[in-house]
């Protein structure tokens, strides 16, 4: 079943009267419960595309349909995980995660139950009353993830959710993220420029080209989970996508 339909999205910025095309014509659709990555070189318009999906920016043309509604502006049906997490530093972990549930007037007892469950899957027990500055990078990332889940969105949008951590931490977080996702099975669109991350996590990878952002490649990753990074097929997918990314980069 199709969850999200992206239809001929076009985005231009005008600078000094000159029109700069960032996204030329982007169309794809995502099935319910899938983990889709958008891969592309820096500056190709990944963040722009994702924030149009979130409703933070308006597209110049085209339309987005979530379920059976047209998207126009931000809403709690789409959870967002920011590149820098954007946790509210003046709120504790608990207050951050409760925030979306309170906004949606979820009854208190149900709120408490959801909170306990989410804290459990993010392994943040005992950290409920910590402020974000008292958390490690990984804990922040997990808090941002469960905060986005707490509002029970229909789809989760993530902008390089592991961009701010180092390589070893990144692999560990990817594994954690996968196991969190396997428990929740929500539709996810993740932006990344890391090929390994895309192959490890996704059911499908969309590659954007650098110049005139349009889709260069759109292919499934049909490997069993959890994935073995040393597997031959895994390496194959990585090599293929890396080659594509190099090509995407050369175009610019």
């Amino acid at each position: 079943m199709i969850k999200l339909k992206v239809d001929h999205i076009r985005k231009t910025f005008s600078r000094n009267g000159e029109e700069q095309i960032v996204l030329e014509d982007v169309s794809f659709s995502v099935d319910e419960g899938r983990f889709v990555s958008i891969l592309g070189p820096s500056g190709c318009g990944k963040t722009t595309l994702l924030s149009i999906l979130a409703g933070f920016q308006r597209a110049t043309g085209g339309s987005i349909t979530l379920g059976d509604r047209k998207v126009s502006g931000p809403g709690p049906d789409r959870g967002f995980v920011f590149q820098n997490y954007a946790l509210f530093p003046w709120m504790t972990v608990r207050e951050n995660v409760m925030f979306p549930m309170k906004r949606q007037r979820i009854p208190k007892d149900q709120r408490e139950r959801t909170f306990a469950r989410l804290i459990g899957i993010a392994q943040l027990e005992g950290r409920e009353n910590f402020y974000p500055k008292e958390l490690s990078g990984g804990m922040k990332q997990r808090t941002a993830f469960i905060r986005a889940l707490a509002g029970q969105p229909e789809i989760l949008l993530m902008d390089e959710p592991m961009g701010a951590v180092d390589f070893q931490m990144r692999q560990k977080l990817q594994e954690e993220l996968e196991s969190l996702w396997l428990k929740e099975r929500i539709t996810v669109i993740m932006v990344t420029h890391d090929v390994d991350e895309a192959v490890y996590l996704s059911d499908r990878v969309i590659v954007l080209s650098a110049r005139r952002g349009c889709i260069m490649d759109d292919s499934p990753i049909d490997l069993p989970r959890p994935r073995d990074r040393d597997d031959q097929h895994y390496e194959g997918h990585k090599a293929r996508l890396s080659a594509q990314l190099r090509m995407a980069f050369r175009e610019s």
Binding site: A54, F88, P89, W90
Partner: protein, 269 residues
């Protein structure tokens, strides 16, 4: 609009490049040494000029200072002045912070208030005293007005800077979690700008404390500033100096109190 900061920012490790160690002993010792040097210099100079009317010695100033504690009139005047400062400060905060929040949040409010405030701010504070006497007569009225006026711009400008520095990501995050405009104001804008509002409040209290003494020189016949004028006309210079020392200590204590309250309120920082 730039934010006013004429204070050494806290949380900055001054000793970073000299590699000095931070410890209570070093701190107390340095403070004691600087105080001792200051008093020694003062003493040398007063002995050199040898004129109690021009520059009393630290010793006679200290005696006068102790004498202040036995003088109920001084305490009445000090309490009166403190009351004025707190009232004026409250006015500056309660008027300044909402204006700043409005200007930081809305472009229209910014266009409306910015030139106006920018001009009024340029009028020297002391130039307001004659008008404030015409408006409010003598006594509490003009002094409270002067205190509020002295502090309000710091509150407004710091609040504006605080609101404008809020990352758009926080707004986006709040919206995508279902928050409305009013909720974003209460749960995002206000707490996020609070440290800057408190910074403005600290400056406002400081300038209020300075303004009140000046205002009391002229616009009233009671209060701490008036006590000073009295000491001067009676040619009791050592009492005048003792009052200045007391004024400095009271101001310092108030500043530390505001800092402490601010730190309590922004423990998440």
């Amino acid at each position: 609009m730039e934010k006013i900061t004429n204070q050494i920012p806290k949380n900055i490790s001054i000793s970073a490049f000299l590699g000095e160690k931070e410890s209570l002993r070093v701190r107390l010792l340095s403070q004691a040494v600087s105080l001792a040097l200051f008093i020694l210099l003062w003493r040398r100079m007063s002995l050199y000029y040898n004129n109690q009317l021009l520059l009393p010695t630290p010793g006679s100033t200290f005696t006068a200072f102790i004498g202040l504690f036995g003088d109920p009139e001084i305490w009445e005047n000090l309490l009166l002045t403190l009351e004025r400062v707190l009232k004026g400060f409250a006015c500056a905060l309660l008027i300044g912070a909402p204006i700043g929040l409005l200007m930081g949040s809305s472009k229209i409010a910014m266009y409306m208030f910015d030139p106006l405030l920018g001009c009024i701010r340029q009028v020297p504070l002391m130039a307001w005293i004659p008008l404030s006497i015409i408006w409010f007569g003598l006594g509490n009225g003009p002094t409270i007005f002067m205190i509020a006026l002295a502090g309000i711009f710091a509150v407004v400008l710091n609040t504006v800077a605080g609101v404008r520095n809020i990352s758009p990501d926080y707004y986006h995050a709040a919206r995508s979690m279902g928050a409305g405009t009013w909720c974003i104001f209460l749960r995002v804008v206000l707490p996020c700008a609070l440290p800057d509002i408190l910074g403005g409040a600290r400056l406002a209290l400081g300038s209020g404390w300075m303004a009140v003494i000046c205002a009391e020189f002229i616009a009233t016949s009671a209060g701490f500033g008036f006590s000073m004028v009295e000491a001067q006309t009676r040619m009791e210079t050592e009492k005048l100096l003792a009052l200045m020392v007391l004024g400095a200590l009271v101001g310092y204590t108030m500043d530390k109190c505001v800092c402490a309250i601010g730190n309590r309120l922004t423990r998440w920082k």
